[in-house]
Amino acid sequence: MELAATAAKAVFIVAFILAIVPMLVLGERKVSGWIQDRHGPNRVGPGGLLQPLADGIKFLAKEVLAPKSVDRKLYFAAPALLLVPALMSGAIIPWSKPIPADSFIGNLLSAENWSPDGIPFQLARIDVGVLYFLAIVSLGVYGVILAGWASNNKYTLLGGLRASAQVISYELSLGLSILAVLLMAGTLQVDKIVEQQAGAGWFIFYQPVAWFLFSVTALAETNRAPFDLAECEQELVGGYHTEYSGMTFATFFLAEYGNMAMSSALNVSLFLGGWTLFGLEEMIPWYLTFLIFIGKVLLFLFVFLWVRWTFPRFRFDQLMRLGWKMALPLALGNVIVTAGAIALHEMWSAPLWPVMAAGQLALIGAVVLTSVLNARADAQRSQA
């Protein structure tokens, strides 16, 4: 029965991504419509709700067209290479509190025989936890760069190169921003990190800088605006997927939105307390904690969309500068400040939150100071 539970969870993760992506696409179009003072899709089904279905059918019915000069093996492998990591990254996400053995599903799987504490609603409680997520997500860039190269098209090549340079540049900051959470939690396992937040409060209250960095770098890692240089229409037409059509194109879409959903899920788990809600989670059944989790993820996805429809796009050198010269030192500084705060707390039992807050304020102050100094220097240069 344990195998059945594992299989069910694996299928759930894949199904979740396959289900949320069409919803996200529709949501994106509706939200952008709302932001831009227009209706968005409203023809297929009530209020345009069936639009994703129509899109899906259309994608399926489209010809899959490969130009003559492409490297066919890599050309068709690339979308799969991008999709597989996107589907796999959800394995370490705790979706809700453990499903009790005496609940309906627990009974169904006769859980009390093998898991008296309930079935963890998390596919793999492996001890590398967060590291697994980072490793899997960064595999996706192979799909992007191979798609760009295999297409034998200059736009796709530039798109692929941009994407890979961007992803690796922001990966350092991403890893370092997570490190602050690890310092506090003392574990890599996401379920334990979530449980700690249930007791000690969400980590966003201790680590706003790390959270902000994580959110920004997650935008960059998922190639979302304003970091969507790899596929910016106005410069590179379609970027790395210019030469893809029909279902192969849809696969890229699926992976991109799946990554968005999964990085939001990790963000929620690490910083926003996952499925917890200020102790409320103790009182409610497991499926409501699942809904809490999904609600938080959706909130985050909305922020993703909001950002996209508000900001212009970076230029490539600006993007690299932001990643290497601003995000990286800030993330490194945050790690040191956090370590110092924890040391103070553990050694002289200084109250954790005020120390942490002081450290964060110092970081924010440093950032403001440097940007003011930079702006001054800029002004002086332009006057000269």
């Binding site: 952008s32 932001i35 831009q36 003072d37 227009r38 200059k154 736009y155 090549l157 530039l158 941009r162 605006a225 304003p226 969507d228 240089l229 910016c232 229409e233 106005q234 410069e235 037409v237 429809w309 508000t310 900001f311 212009p312 796009r313 970076f314 230029r315 490539f316 050198d317 600006q318 332009s382």
Partner: protein, 598 residues
């Protein structure tokens, strides 16, 4: 102007070049000089560099095929072509037309692209259209027609009926020649060695709104070289004019800068009215001004929207297009059409503005200045990413901007305070109060700020025009000029003339006037002569140089398209920039393909 009535320019020119100045004369307030071909380069160099004259600005360079002109042009005897230079001196605010005779046997002329950078493309166009080769031109290739085109369409002997050129012109080879159009052969080997990437941006590209084609050579993300290719939307408007009545061609002008069609209508009829020498009623002038400013707003809205879109701010695009939509409703109320409105006529307007005109305009201006513009500004002007993307990108200094013949917001962005509405006011612009904003550094951000400020000034002008709108007719009284009122031609079921099937015609006079103005060989009576009339269109100086032989159709119409000259500076703007800056710099020039290629 000196004592004997001749301006200082002409005197100095004659003093310096004596016998080489074959003729000088004045007509319709424009001075022109004919200079012999041998001395033309020296004469133009003199005019441009003399510190008192300082004709720093080459407004336009074109040619006229004189072979079928029914009059002798003084100083141009025996010449098949005249190359015509329109010069402008910002220092003295004077214009001068210089012509030089070019013979059929040896159709060559010296290039002036070493004097004014603006001449580069203009000479290519003359070469393309007339077959006049410019000696020492750095890059003398066809510009609007395909490379394998064998003829020169603006020559008078170019057949306009039958297959003509098309018999010899193979579209299959032409399509495959799209690659040949770029000079890939002379660079091929070199490109492989340095491993730069040659990338075509356009003609089918999301950021080349219209059909621009830019060939860029990239080293990674950096631009090594950018070469624009033109002509994808070439429609032969200037040739068309030679076969159309004066009023008929108004419709064609709509298609030039299709973002602000009224500005083109306006500029063209002003030029014709200048030739005729007629002053149109004040009310028509005011309506024209108000609508031209509205057209400017609509044009800038498309520019702003697409510019923002290119830099990635999608939302600003839709906000801007909403305002454009509202402006188009006003055009629709006036002219019945939204895009190709053809609202002006020689001698006035098609119709008087409707009663709803004023309230609609006022409501639009109020909403635009109070809500829409601040909202768009809030999204962009102080946005860090926007500033980073536009500041320091596509910088052009004031001197270079003048040399490249930039006009309009692109010139003002570089800090040159030149606006034809101020320096050469037309259509009662002198009665309006408005400011001319200028930028400081000549980068994309400055051009953006200049345009935003001009939007406010346009609203000011519109408000003044509405406040002081005179009553009266909107057409001249001269029935030989104006279109007869429809109710005078045939009874229509409108409110003034109840339809009466027994009496289908309004009046016999109306019918006769209508007939005369419209019939082949009659048309609007435009006297023989020539005129250059420039207006401040949204993109800059939109000039119409018209040569009339007194018949019902123009002999030659030359459009001085602001986009053409502005676009020419793009390779200069992109020097040393990055791939992403292509769309930024291109967007800041607001190149309109219809106007660019004509």
């Amino acid at each position: 102007m000196s004592a004997n009535g001749k301006p200082q320019t002409i005197e100095k020119l004659v003093d310096a070049f004596g016998g080489a100045v074959l003729h000088t004369g004045e007509a319709l307030g424009e001075w022109s000089a004919v200079v012999a071909l041998d001395s033309i380069h020296a004469a133009l160099q003199f005019l441009a560099s003399d510190s008192e004259l300082a004709y720093e600005h080459l407004s336009d360079l074109t040619a006229v095929d004189l072979s079928q002109l029914n009059r002798a042009e003084p100083g141009l005897d025996g010449a098949r072509y005249a190359v015509v230079y329109h010069l402008y001196s910002p220092q003295n605010e004077t214009r001068l037309r210089v012509k030089t005779p070019v013979t059929d046997e040896n159709p060559t002329a010296p290039t002036v692209s070493d004097i004014w950078a603006a001449a580069g493309w203009a000479e290519r166009e003359v070469y393309d259209m007339f077959g006049i080769a410019f000696e020492n031109h750095p890059d003398l290739r066809r510009i609007l027609m395909p490379d394998n085109f064998t003829s020169h369409p603006l020559r008078k002997d170019y057949p306009t009926k039958g297959l003509g050129e098309r018999a010899a012109f193979n579209f299959e080879t032409s399509a495959s020649n799209l690659v040949g159009k770029s000079d890939s052969t002379d660079r091929g080997e070199d490109a492989i060695e340095s491993e730069t990437m040659v990338l075509n941006i356009g003609p089918q590209h999301p950021a080349t709104h219209g059909t621009l084609h830019l060939e860029v050579e990239l080293d990674g993300e950096r631009i090594v070289r950018a070469t624009p290719h033109l002509g994808y939307l070439h429609t032969g408007f200037e040739k068309l004019a030679e076969a159309m009545h004066w009023n008929q061609w108004i419709v064609v002008t709509d298609r030039m800068n299709y973002l602000s069609p009224l500005s083109n209508n306006f500029g063209y009829v002003l030029a014709v009215e200048k030739l005729i020498g007629v002053e149109i009623p004040k009310r028509a002038q005011y309506i024209r001004v108000a609508l031209a400013e509205l057209a400017r707003i609509a044009d800038y809205m498309v520019w702003l929207g697409t510019h923002a879109l290119d830099i990635g701010a999608f939302t600003a695009f839709l906000y801007a297009f909403q305002q454009r939509e509202k402006a188009y409703e006003i055009f629709e109320a006036c002219a019945g059409a939204r895009l190709t409105i053809s609202y002006t006529r020689v001698g006035g307007l098609f119709y008087d503005a409707p009663e709803s005109f004023e309230p609609m305009m006022r409501a639009f201006v109020k909403e635009f200045t109070d809500e829409a513009l601040p909202e768009i500004e809030k999204l962009l002007s102080r946005n860090r990413i926007w500033i980073d993307r536009t500041q320091g990108v596509g910088v052009i200094s004031a001197e270079e901007a003048v040399s490249y013949g930039l006009t309009g917001p692109c010139l003002r962005g570089s800090g040159v305070r030149r606006d034809l509405r101020k320096t050469e006011p037309y259509s009662s612009y002198e009665e309006f109060e408005f400011d001319v904003p200028v930028g400081a550094s000549g980068d994309t951000y400055d051009r953006y700020l200049v345009r935003l400020e001009e939007l406010r000034q346009s609203c000011r002008i519109i408000t003044q025009a509405l406040d002081n709108m005179p009553d009266g007719p909107v057409n001249v009284e001269d029935h030989k000029l104006r279109f007869a009122d429809k109710s005078h031609v045939y009874k229509t079921p409108d409110h003034t003339h109840p339809y009466d099937p027994t009496q289908p015609y309004g009046s016999i006079e109306g019918l006769i006037h209508h007939f005369k103005v419209n019939m082949d060989g009659h048309g609007v009576p435009v006297p023989a002569g020539e005129a250059y009339c420039a207006t401040e269109s949204p993109n800059g100086e939109l000039g119409f140089y018209i040569v009339s032989d007194g018949s019902g159709t123009p002999y030659r119409v030359r459009v001085r398209p602001p986009s053409f000259y502005n676009y020419q500076s793009l390779p200069r703007l992109l020097e040393g920039h990055m791939m992403s800056d292509v769309v930024t710099a291109l967007g800041s020039l607001n190149v309109i393909a219809g106007e660019l290629d004509r």
